[in-house]
Point group: C2
Chain length 344, copies 2
């Protein structure tokens, strides 16, 4: 198997693992006939799930793992006791060059910690960042950090901007993505000191990024910029708040179309548009958080995503494995490094 054509999957991570994971992998393999996967997990559980499924039989290889990282494990515990677990093995296969990227729907903190230890950080990156891709009115926007770190200083925010820009170039099909810094007012007087300082650094910086200045929360869904940069606390709250609003509106929409015979008939007539809307309201569709800034590709799938959501995360991992976005980031960081911004 060619590493760039192979994904390394943690089959045991996520709320409904391994069932959802296996279903998601099957969906992914059906969509990508040239790809293979390594399935890390309990063979006794996994083997029966592959029965009678041709894609899985021919292109998935079970790599037995005894251990499992549970969702309540702290990162430090995962590092101490995680060796030999399905998650650890999934990450290690990337390090060893057996796969181009790994995907896990398990414990985020543990995946972050194990990925950092095993894959190491890239030169010039002090803190990796988790990136989420949002649907917007104009297309898609990458938002980072959405929870890998609790805080970020100005230099880390600048590094996030560079990583996010390279990510958008590699995965969103944008030749020159625009970048904005999340703030609470477009006037320069507002916002955290770190945000204002990062703003000055990005404006003054010699690196060739299409930096557009401050954006606000509602600019994310409006698609005002292609990359939105923020600290992990704010980004995580924004991501989850947006998911919550979409879920609430989807629930009200279901009600609106089932309350009477007339409304049900209306739903049938408007079926096509409603299907598209439903998919936009489904958090599974924005699934796939990439930990940027590591020496290999590690993708976090939403723990509560369904099979389709997991398949999406696999597709993103496959796209990244096929691209040179790691090289892009390295080149940009090197360019910054000479400007002294990334120095610690």
């Amino acid at each position: 198997m060619q590493p760039s054509k192979t994904l390394s999957i943690d089959a045991m991570g996520g709320d409904d693992a391994p069932r959802i994971v296996i279903d998601g992998v099957a969906e992914f393999l059906a969509a990508r006939p040239s790809m293979s996967v390594l399935l890390h997990g309990n063979e006794t559980l996994l083997r029966p799930m592959m029965a009678g499924r041709a894609d899985l039989q021919s292109r998935a290889t079970i790599v037995h793992a005894e251990g499992k990282i549970t969702s309540d494990m702290k990162p430090s515990q995962a590092l101490r006791r995680g060796k030999g677990s399905s998650m650890w093995n999934a990450v290690e296969a990337v390090k060893d060059g057996r796969a181009g990227a790994c995907v896990s729907a398990g414990n985020t903190g543990a995946l972050m910690a194990i990925s950092m230890l095993v894959l190491r950080k890239m030169d010039g990156v002090h803190r990796p960042a988790r990136t989420a891709v949002w649907p917007t009115l104009r297309g898609r926007t990458a938002v980072l950090d959405v929870g890998a770190n609790v805080e970020a200083d100005a230099e880390q925010l600048v590094t996030f901007a560079i990583m996010g820009e390279a990510f958008a170039r590699a995965t969103l099909g944008l030749p020159r993505p625009s970048v904005g810094l999340l703030n609470i007012g477009s006037e320069e007087m507002k916002g955290h000191e770190e945000v204002r300082e990062a703003h000055e650094l990005l404006r003054a910086s010699a690196i060739d990024i299409d930096y557009r200045g401050f954006v606000e929360g509602d600019d994310i869904s409006a698609g005002v910029v292609d990359v939105v940069v923020t600290d992990g606390f704010t980004g995580n709250v924004a991501l989850k708040t947006g998911e919550g609003v979409a879920r609430m509106l989807a629930s009200h929409m279901r009600e609106a179309f089932t309350e009477s015979l007339m409304s049900k008939a209306g739903a049938v007539l408007a079926m096509n548009g409603l299907k598209r809307l439903k998919s936009l309201m489904d958090p599974s569709n924005v699934n796939g958080g990439v930990l940027l800034g590591l020496g290999g590709i590690s993708v976090k799938s939403h723990g509560g995503a369904d099979a389709r959501g997991f398949a999406r995360a696999c597709e993103m991992a496959a796209d990244l494995a096929a691209s040179d976005f790691q090289g892009e980031i390295a080149a940009n960081l090197a360019r910054i490094g000479t400007g002294g911004v990334a120095a610690e």
Copy 2:
């Protein structure tokens, strides 16, 4: 005019003032036949707008103001040059007892600064907080701070919790509102130091609040608690992000129901449910930010809200003026004060 039955309106604040403001006030007066308003602003502009409108003619009194606070004015400029402006006069009428509450859709920072200077802070409150009311799956939830401050330490977060709880009791019709602290994980190890410290203070505190611990971004729309407490930066980003998602989905919904004759027919059949959904997606409906922690009631309406949104903000101001929520907060703060939490 009875002060508690009178609102003091900044007629010149907001994107489309004074037109939107006057239309909003007219809507408010029609809905609340026992209320009156003071309209602070340029008489030459305002007088013609009242022509032929019975409610405005009989229950609105123009109080001429020459000056105007512009949207690009810094708070410090507003304090220096704002005296005699429509916003300043609107706030002063509350201070002087001529009105029970004031409403402005103008410059938030300026309203905050002027309200603090004129109405003063309540005893025990170091920083007032801006509160927004969100529609949720279960009803409504108050979120604070949504942007009055950029940061909040643990003690300020505790004060926000107390103020938010009193606010929810006074305006949401809840005898015992539940309170949550916004964080990025429900495990106690996660989150900012300030958030974790506030969590300990609220758990240990002698005050009688139904504190439920940490909540995440998606819990806001789910209505998991009645009051969500956070710092002003995070709260503002969450609020605007949620608005942005709702706006994006509303736009896609319009598309879905206009793309074909069939879908248009479907929209007609499902009209009732869709109308309700549309109103849920309209940020004007969550309008009305109250600055809690002052010696009087000052309500901020969204600068971009329509007449209906401004009317909502007026209704909230009227409800607050009729309630004793200032007294409730004072009582709670006094209770905490003895525990030493609010000491600076």
